[in-house]
Symmetry: D2
Subunit: 93 residues, 4 copies
Amino acid sequence: MRGYAQGKNDYLQRLRRIEGQVRGLQRMVEEDVYCIDVLTQVSAATAALRTVAVSLLDDHLSQCVSGAIEEGGSVADDKLREASEAISRLVRS
Amino acid sequence: MRGYAQGKNDYLQRLRRIEGQVRGLQRMVEEDVYCIDVLTQVSAATAALRTVAVSLLDDHLSQCVSGAIEEGGSVADDKLREASEAISRLVRS
Amino acid sequence: MRGYAQGKNDYLQRLRRIEGQVRGLQRMVEEDVYCIDVLTQVSAATAALRTVAVSLLDDHLSQCVSGAIEEGGSVADDKLREASEAISRLVRS
Amino acid sequence: MRGYAQGKNDYLQRLRRIEGQVRGLQRMVEEDVYCIDVLTQVSAATAALRTVAVSLLDDHLSQCVSGAIEEGGSVADDKLREASEAISRLVRS
């Protein structure tokens, strides 16, 4: 069981929509759509991926990290360090 | 002819790779892969989209905007304003 | 006691350095320094602020949120929701 | 004369306000203000710096880069390459 288990279908739906956006981008490039319109669509797909990332992180904190802290011990510290690194990667991506 | 015309095949290849990453993300969620590993892959796809956006903007500036400025007149101003708005959207996405 | 208590002096030092960077930016603008060089310095200050934010979030998770989860109850949920909102704001800033 | 010459006073005012925000952050840390409130203020200062960066880039494109393109030659190419690198740094900061 993962932190995102409860929202699994929702995540799959959002990822399929993002896949559609990226396929749409290929079509736009193939059809020589104006650069700025392609860029607007790239920004939309990027923002959608960011939203997925923030949701995954929320679920991870409230399920996995929270669970590890309740159990206590060194696992909790490891989970927190791991989550911090993921946040750092996310902020910089 | 668009600013990205010369690199069209390269863009298509990069976008297909990103599409593959997003499909990979769906598989990861379906197979209950650990949240942090999903997140790492989301960050990778986001960074790849950003790189595409920066390249598209480069091409747009050096081709379309540059061409409009050489021609002069109000079109140049419009192109610059449009490019600025795209940069602003990109920075915030 | 706050999550950042142990690193307080380090945070103050980093913030003073960022304050110095922002004052440096004013001097650059006053002395008509070349736009791109001003921009490079703005990016440096932004990156320094981001690093402070990620550290503060780390400390907050490993101290405050962690403590609330150990105690359990609705406070833990509130802390987690609050942290998620802060991450979301940070990612979008 | 720089691209930001006309808005110089406005830039100085915005930078002084950001300096004030960063000094405010030091006071918050000294007075042990709650982490999340400090973080909110860090996000506000980061967003303000980003807005300054986007404005500087706008001015640079519409003044310096535009001027170089009108003059033509290799200087225009250099300016465009330089602007692209600044955008790339900005997006990643």
